[in-house]
Symmetry: C2
Subunit: 415 residues, 2 copies
């Protein structure tokens, strides 16, 4: 039994439909709202920003995920974050959920909400409700509807992000196996340094699975996927990742850890990793995806801390932009990461598909093939690794280069 | 009794002379080595980088500061950091100190060393020793010699940094008071996110003071001066701050905490703060100095953490470059800082000399005077503050904007 990647996104699993519309919330002349709906109630799991300043929709979703663990729809807008909006922002969430509930004939507290964009302004309720009404009429389970939804939630993203996969599980009726699917979409380009989850990510599955297991699964997947990417070190006020499971695949329900749980987790992990890497490579202004692999660390968490430190270093990011093999900056970023290692035993490499350049052996920077290094630094993906010679753990982090365009985009974001 | 700012730098206190030369270590046609010498042995205190990857001269200095607490000269080079150079780098330190000791007729282990520049390459010993020989012949206690030394240690700095101050202390012979002086110079523009100290900073004083008190004083001053600035979040491998006290002012020695200790500390604090602010404003590519003041925090350390988080945020830095009053980014950076506060009670301000713009009250972003905000964001110094309404502690951090030139400088640093 294995995981197969398939086309599509959130509408790939049975029973999920999606819609989008141009509500004119801030952007004009482009879709800026999306909706996902399941035909039946779903078990729901979620992870949220660790930022103390939490946007109103984050607070709204956290309550549903923690207290009810059941939901049936998601409404998302781009352009305005509904953060730092106090009681007004929470009231707007309540009204949006009530309006959506009426339109979809489901309880208001089974409507999850997401917002992304500028912090501070209030959302225009009339445009939000007009958008919800329009989307409720146009829900579709087609792949195109899922793709359109993934486009509608983009802000400074340059490409949409959606992935799907399928695998087999024993059927509920005992007759052979059934196909279970997982789909997902996410957005995020700036203010990306997830801590507990990413900017906005929505995962769907038709797998029948126990709600408490679902949360455990998601919490296990996030530390090595969305939490391992960084664009600019800024952890957003709105980070939200939700996983909805409606059980319509007809599999024997996953109620304990075992082969079924492992397969579902592997599928969710693969989609989360692909979405996360796509987000890192589409960082604001980025021209290159950067990967940092830390091997032979003493603990998994130390490997993660060290890999993330390199990915987040402004100097490493600028050096990748300039294709300058100034490898001492990688050593420097490892050194201030806050995780222990012996600086006199670390090796650092620049990895290619066929060739590898060794920058540093046993803590000393070595002469290396500058021409080969320049060639490897000129690709669309630049991959570094380091060997700590300490233990058996490893971790991978993803980021992007720091460019003139990042500065340009963020020096003039509101206008 | 009060502190008076005076002209000059490291040669302002009695008995200190300086020299510089163009040794051609990496830069050509400009001074790249500096020397400071005291006519008599000094008590010495120091703080060093917390980066696990410590440059060879950092390791050399740490041993002298910790084990001997006595030194008489400092030799510094710009261009090559002598970091990640293993045993070869340490051997080079030993040889440089031995050569300097012979040239100045002092013990080799009273020679402190400092290097700044590219990580990885080995220093050319012949050019270093030729530079030391030349400088030993040209030492001078003139203000010009101090200024020239502060210029010689610059890398991507655009202005040199030196300050001096004086105050009165009771004379050692009981007859009235004597004038005590403190001087300092520092360099640093990129890879600036000091943790325990700054890039390279050298302080001199003719105050007679107990060596153990000297280290305590320096350790008390650093957390609110050099540790409160950030240019790019990268803590260097070479950060070093040294304070040499030769006792030649003729004051009654400061041997315990009290009025004398307090005056010396205030003078050292003022010079460290001025050097730190100058470094922040001269960050690589910077067009503006940025200041963040956190008031009414519950603890001093929380205030520091919150202020530093705002200063280090790429999004806040880019917004200051673009003069965009996207104040939600300040709230966001406070929220992920890792120090506790109530997001529903925080106020955020943009401060001018006469006017103040309130961005955010009780956690909600407010409408504000955009024209006035643009005016205040257009100055050479941009000052933010926030009021946490929690306690009585406050802290100030300094940084700079994130510009195209930062990316340009660091995308192509080695060549």
């Amino acid at each position: 039994m294995e995981i197969r990647k398939i086309a599509g996104g959130v509408t790939a699993p049975k029973g999920f439909s999606a819609a989008s519309c141009a509500a004119g919330i801030k952007y004009q002349g482009r879709p800026d709202m999306a909706m996902i709906r399941s035909s039946v109630p779903c078990a729901v799991a979620g992870t949220f920003t660790s930022n103390l300043v939490k946007a109103a929709p984050v607070r709204w979703d956290m309550q549903i995920v923690k207290e009810k663990q059941v939901a049936q729809a998601v409404v998302v807008n781009a352009g305005i974050a509904n953060a730092a909006t106090g009681a007004t922002g929470m009231e707007l969430c309540r009204k949006t959920a009530e309006f959506t509930g009426e339109a979809l004939h489901i309880p208001a507290d089974s409507v999850l909400l997401g917002s992304t964009g500028v912090i501070g302004p209030n959302l225009p309720l009339d445009r939000i409700t007009a958008g919800v009404a329009a989307m409720a009429e146009t829900l579709s389970d087609s792949p195109e509807a899922g793709t359109a939804a993934s486009r509608a939630i983009m802000t400074t993203d340059t490409v949409n992000k959606e992935f799907a996969a399928e695998f087999e599980l024993p059927a509920a009726d005992g007759n052979g196996t059934v196909t279970v699917r997982v789909g997902g979409m996410s957005k995020g380009s700036g203010m990306i340094h997830p801590n507990m989850c990413t900017m906005l990510g929505y995962l769907t599955t038709d797998c029948a699975v126990d709600p408490s297991l679902l949360q455990e699964l998601l919490s296990e997947v996030v530390p090595d996927t969305f939490n391992m990417i960084s664009v600019d070190g800024d952890t957003s006020t709105n980070d939200t990742l939700l996983l909805l499971a409606n059980g319509l695949a007809g599999n024997r329900p996953v109620t304990e850890k075992g082969p079924g749980y492992d397969l579902l987790k592997e599928a969710v992990f693969g989609i989360c990793r692909d979405l996360a890497v796509r987000m890192a490579g589409d960082g604001e202004g980025a021209t290159r995806l950067m990967e940092m692999r830390v091997t032979h660390a003493d603990t998994k968490e130390h490997a993660r801390i060290l890999a993330r430190s390199v990915i987040a270093s402004s100097l490493v990011k600028a050096m990748v932009f300039g294709r300058d093999a100034n490898c001492g900056r990688i050593l420097c970023a490892l050194g201030y990461a806050g995780a222990p290692f012996d600086p006199d035993t670390v090796d650092v490499y620049l990895l290619g598909d066929k060739d590898t350049v060794c920058f540093c052996k046993a803590g000393c920077v070595l002469p290396f093939d500058e021409e080969k290094a320049l060639e490897l630094l000129s690709g669309k993906e630049v991959r570094f690794s380091c060997d700590l010679h300490m233990g058996a753990e490893e971790a991978v982090a993803w980021g992007c280069d720091l460019t003139y365009d990042y500065v340009k985009i963020n020096g003039d974001y509101r206008s």
